[in-house]
């Protein structure tokens, strides 16, 4: 079933185009990473999906229009926008009381179970907690809600590496069950590489790349080319070439190159590229184009 469906989604702020006609389809049960440079339109896209901003074009989330039905939609959708949105004056126990009071799908015992594994005391106020503990609290609240879509916008911003690791671990182990859908944006791409089932790059308000992680593994190849093979490799039209420690690393898309697997293997060491490599190849080339383009 389709969880999010957008057609021609557009949003402008004055003369700035934040979303430039996005088409998007996210099936249920996927973990989609929405990745893009600063100001690419990630947060605007998420805000539209969450009913926090109005938009032009068509958008349906779980069959609802987010802008006009936000309160209904939020029964099935959870979001963590970044770590700093829990009010600082509230007590931990009050967050549980409140969410239990207003959310029909909140399981208070479950949230208390998650919190018991952390050092977040229920009588403390949010202002007394560290950034990592606030993130743990917010995640405990969200994971205790039986939602169908979870949206995470830079959920681990400003957290140290241990908290970040733990955050995604508990998300995968205690929450994701292949029926729920998770949509996540982050700049720390390496850390979610193994979490995602799908990845999407967004740049200047447009979706410039989308692929499932399975597809990524079967379709893209990164080759550390031996110096003597350089000319031969370039003839196979790689997507991107970069220099690391004096050696050329080239990225091949098996759909746009005619080279077979054995042909690539002859050029040098072949491996599956990381999301970061692809991101640099796709967005980097666009950025270079933009800089070189006449104004």
């Amino acid at each position: 079933m389709t969880c999010i469906e957008a057609r021609g989604l557009r949003k402008t702020f004055g003369s700035t185009v934040a979303l430039d006609g996005i088409n998007l389809q996210v099936q249920e049960g996927r973990i989609l990473g929405l990745i893009g440079p600063n100001g690419a339109g990630k947060t605007t896209a998420l805000n539209a999906i969450l009913g926090l901003t109005d938009y032009e074009g068509q958008l349906r989330v779980l069959g609802r229009d987010p802008w006009t039905e936000r309160d209904q939609l939020m029964r099935d959708v959870c979001f963590i926008s970044d770590v700093a949105v829990l009010p600082r004056w509230i007590k931990v126990s009050q967050t549980l009381d409140y969410v239990a009071g207003v959310h029909p799908r909140f399981d208070r015992a479950k949230a208390e179970g998650f919190l018991a594994k952390t050092s977040v005391g229920s009588t403390r106020k949010v202002r007394e907690l560290s950034k990592g503990m606030i993130a743990q609290l917010h995640l405990a609240l969200v994971m205790a809600i039986d939602a169908r879509l979870l949206v995470l916008d830079e959920p681990t911003l400003g957290l140290d590496i241990l908290y970040r690791k733990q955050f995604y671990d508990s998300l995968l182990n205690d929450y994701f069950d292949r029926r729920r859908t998770i949509l996540v944006t982050t700049h720390q791409v390496e850390e979610i590489q193994n979490v995602l089932t799908d990845v999407m790059f967004i740049d200047r308000g447009r979706i410039v790349f989308e692929c499932s992680m399975d597809g990524l593994e079967s379709r893209y190849r990164e080759v550390t080319v031996r110096p003597e093979q350089l000319a031969a490799a370039r003839a196979l039209s790689p997507m991107n070439e970069r220099q690391v420690l004096g050696r050329s690393i080239m990225l091949f898309d098996s759909k746009s190159t005619n080279a077979g697997a054995d042909q690539l293997a002859a050029l040098g060491d072949v491996r599956t590229p990381s999301i970061v490599d692809l991101f640099v190849a796709v967005i980097g080339s666009r950025a270079a184009y933009a800089q070189g383009a006449p104004q």
Partner: protein, 320 residues
């Protein structure tokens, strides 16, 4: 007929369980629409503790001052006994009226500052993103915030005043009895039930209904202004009055605002003026006169429009 009764006894415990579950589900289903509102109001009381701390603190201070004043109470009562019944009542009930006015004044002040911050603070500290991530509509959120100055604070002011006046009376009685005096004059001249019903009427009529457009305006500004909501709430009103004065040499707008704050003499009569005599009990005539005044209804319509605009604004506004 209960469909469960046709089941065999072996299933009794099971059917009882399911009955309990059914009734819980039903209760939850019925209560569901009001729960977000109820919890949103409680949330406001968690956040703005000054809502009840301020009136309680003022009441405590007043009681402290009153306690000191009771040193002279026995001689005062002897002097009062010489006066006419009218003067007796006036003199004895004076501190009680003053207490009521003080608490109501504090509640009004708290209501103003609460309303100015209610929809601004949540955007300032970004917590609006958390509130909006929950299935609570903007309508419920704004309505619960409007409910604080319109319902919660008047009721709170009433409760605190009644408790304060009771303690004043108790204290006075103890002092008089301790000095071997009589409490008869004191109790006879304090028509407490009358005073309280008058106060409750005043709170509902003025602090809730007549002041509604004031709170609506403040909430609207609080939802709209990016910074300095107090200035945005006050300066435009002053500007309108000044422009009117310069352009037409009249004070209509300023008079309108003034009559709204002090209760007004044309619309709601002396009844709604905060300074009106508390010992005067409301009659049906007063009530009819109040309900028939166009000022009340125009004010309520304006308040509803302000609140509606605040709901629309909250929907599209993010953190600042």
């Amino acid at each position: 007929m209960n469909p469960m009764s046709s089941r065999s006894s072996a299933n009794d415990s099971q059917s009882n369980d399911s009955q309990v579950n059914d009734s819980q589900v039903v209760a939850r289903g019925v209560a569901a629409p009001t729960r977000p509102f109820y919890w949103s109001v409680r949330r406001e009381l968690w956040e703005y503790r000054s809502l009840y701390i301020a009136p309680l603190a003022v009441a405590a201070l007043f009681l402290f001052g009153f306690m000191i004043s009771t040193i002279h109470l026995p001689e005062k009562m002897r002097a009062v006994a010489m006066l006419s019944p009218m003067q007796q009542q006036e003199l004895i009930s004076e501190p009680y009226d003053f207490a009521a006015m003080l608490i109501m004044g504090v509640a009004f002040l708290v209501a103003i500052f609460y309303s100015l911050d209610a929809l601004h603070g949540e955007r300032r500290d970004r917590s609006i993103l958390f509130w909006k991530s929950l299935p609570v509509s903007d309508f419920t959120a704004v309505l619960s915030k409007a409910g604080i100055p319109l319902v919660v604070l008047p009721l709170l002011a009433f409760t605190v005043t009644v408790a304060l006046q009771w303690m004043m009376l108790l204290l006075s009685s103890l002092v008089l009895l301790g000095n071997g005096g009589s409490v008869a004059t004191l109790w006879r001249n304090l028509p407490l039930i009358q005073m309280w019903s008058m106060m409750l009427f005043h709170l509902i009529a003025v602090h809730s209904l007549y002041y509604a457009p004031i709170y609506g305006w403040l909430l609207l500004v609080s939802a709209w202004a990016r910074r300095a909501p107090f200035l945005w709430a006050s300066l435009p009103l002053i500007a309108i009055a000044v422009v009117e004065r310069i352009a037409f040499n009249t004070w209509h707008f300023a008079t309108l605002l003034q009559s709204r704050v002090v209760g007004g003499d044309s619309d709601a009569g002396n009844l709604t003026a905060p300074g009106s005599n508390m010992a005067h009990s409301p009659t049906l005539l007063d009530l009819g006169q109040f309900l028939a005044s166009p000022g009340l209804w125009i004010g309520l319509i304006v308040a509803a429009a302000f609140l509606f605009a605040a709901v629309r604004l909250r929907r599209s506004q993010g953190p600042i």
